[in-house]
Amino acid sequence: MSDDFVLKTEDLTKHYGGVHALEGANFELRKGEHVAIMGDNGAGKSTFVRQITGVEQRTRGKVWLYNEDVHFAGPLEAREHGVETVFQTLALADDLDVPDNLFLGRERTFADWLGPFRLLDYKSMRQSTIDALNRTGVKIPNIRNTIRNMSGGQRQCVAIARTATFHSKLTIMDEPTAALGVQETAQVENIIRTLKEEGEPLILISHNMRQVMDLVDRIVVFRRGRICANLKKEETNGEDVVAYITGAKTQPEYEEVA
């Protein structure tokens, strides 16, 4: 196996009882690559992500993260291995401010001998927060504001900045702009471009064709639980992708499975 794989899955399959939600997915993500996953509702996109991030346990198949055969028991373990997921429902604590949320569960501390009462290094966390937000181009007027007082776009930006702060090995975004307005969407897209410049690998689930064509290198199309196309952005266009999504076309190499 080549060294530059971030994520590789082989025959990844998930059955819910008799329902074959995901069947034999072979997927690759190389270093620095941004890949979009597209497909109709129920095509298996989210199921695929849930198997990788350990939210659910797969029926069969293998997952390698940086050539390491992994089998995460839960999302927490995936996170410890550097897989950061930005969910549609944001995992943010509303009553805490931005640095608190960025460092939640991995606070910088001193006087560690105090155990659970070890002291928080606010200064360093604030500085790192400002650095991370600057790096990702996120603009938040006052990072000491609680999340409760922020707009949907700002919240999404905080959630994404969290993945950038910790230099995650793989970022997965599940429809990050589905609930956002035009300006806020542009803000999130800018962050994704910044991640690309920084060479951080990304899997983006999106229904937004313009967004996908703008942002990613490659598009993987799911249909009825199977991958039916693997398209380089330069070699395809919107109509082509829609044809694959709806089932009008299937790539030859996926012919026998579809």
Partner: protein, 357 residues
């Protein structure tokens, strides 16, 4: 963005932009209540121009009426100690109803290890144990009492966190169990005649000293330690806290343990103050502790509030109780008025929060 006041300007870290702290509102309310009582005292004919806070006759020391100030603080100090723990539990979106009976049970148990052998030259008539438990160093009853609280808190926390019993039900059960323990311990008999050193714990203004020390410690803990941050995070969004790698269950057990240890210590102070322990002690303490926290701006849905707020909430209750007595309001009316004020405090706070958000 719809909210233009936030702008889209550069990244700032500006302390002055922080929102108006909730605690200042409570302080304001406290001042207003004092002024109201002062006005009633000066104007109501039957009061004959008495002053609520000031002492005009005694010009030798300060102008304040120290005796009343002392009583105001002293009568809320012990319940205030309980409220410090209840505050932390409520911040995790929980509730602790067991603290009142826990005060009684701890008072009985701790006092049993604090008894003195000879009372006026005669053997202690209320002795629970044999001679081995007489005249022990003061640290023994205190440690036994607080350790008992820790066990009760651990059980509360385990039921809430691991067995997912709603906190209201789990601590309601513990409420009855603790009252039962208090009655069973000496078959309903009071436990009395402690050592001189045990009496010192709750003597004079000592309850206030404990309250101030513990409030300071826990305010610092809630603001500057991982424990505090995780407590707020769990109450704010438990799922997010879990996803962030916080051991939510273990942390909840710790919070309930600390709350019960504080209530147990309040039991020690109370029994020391009265030099006796009775199974009926601490009645309604859990409710007054919750009321202090709620007046202090704590949200029962979790994530919001502070120890300073609870201390101010305790002061509000103290001032109101003392003030009602001062304006010669009958005890039955006092209870009704107090209930109305607690509800009004929550209504006002919710109204303010809605307008802010």
């Amino acid at each position: 963005m719809a909210d233009t006041s936030q702008g889209t300007g550069g990244l700032t870290f500006d302390k002055s932009k922080r929102s108006w702290p909730n605690e200042l509102n409570i302080l304001l309310a406290l001042v207003i209540i004092i002024v109201i009582f002062e006005i009633i005292g000066q104007t109501a004919p039957y009061m004959r121009g008495q002053s609520f806070l000031f002492d005009t006759r005694d010009r030798f020391d300060s102008i304040f009426n120290e005796a009343r100030l002392q009583i105001i603080i002293l009568q809320v100090a012990i319940i205030g100690i309980i409220a410090l723990g209840v505050t932390q539990v409520i911040i995790t979106a929980g509730i602790d109803l067991s603290s009142g009976p826990l005060v009684a049970a701890t008072a009985m148990i701790a006092m049993s290890f604090a008894q003195t052998e000879l009372v006026n030259g005669n053997p202690n008539p209320k002795a629970i144990f044999g001679l081995w438990a007489m005249d022990l160093p003061v640290i023994v009853p205190v440690v036994v009492g607080v350790a008992f609280g820790a066990v009760i808190g651990a059980v509360n926390g385990t039921f809430v966190a691991f067995l997912r019993i709603p906190p209201f039900i789990a601590t309601l059960g513990m409420f009855l169990i603790c009252r039962g323990i208090a009655l069973w311990w000496s078959n309903g008999q009071p436990v009395s005649f402690p050592t001189e050193s045990y009496k010192f714990i709750g003597s004079g203004m000592m309850p206030v000293v404990w309250f101030v020390i513990l409030a300071t410690i826990f305010q610092l803990i809630m603001s500057f330690t991982v424990y505090g941050k995780h407590t707020y995070a769990i109450g704010s969004n438990e799922e997010a806290a879990r996803m962030s790698g916080i051991n939510v269950k273990r942390h909840k057990v710790l919070v309930y343990m600390i709350a019960s240890m504080l209530a147990a210590f309040a039991g020690v102070v109370l029994s020391s103050k009265g030099a006796t322990a009775q199974a009926g002690m601490g009645e309604f303490y859990e409710l007054f502790a919750i009321a202090m926290a709620v007046i202090g701006g704590i949200s029962l849905t979790g994530g919001r509030g502070s120890i300073i707020g609870t201390v101010l909430g305790a002061m509000v209750i103290g001032v109101i109780r003392s003030g009602f007595t001062y304006v010669k309001l009958d005890g039955s009316y006092q209870l009704m008025a107090m209930g109305g004020i607690i509800i009004a405090a929550v209504v006002l706070d919710q109204y303010r929060q809605r307008n802010k958000a």
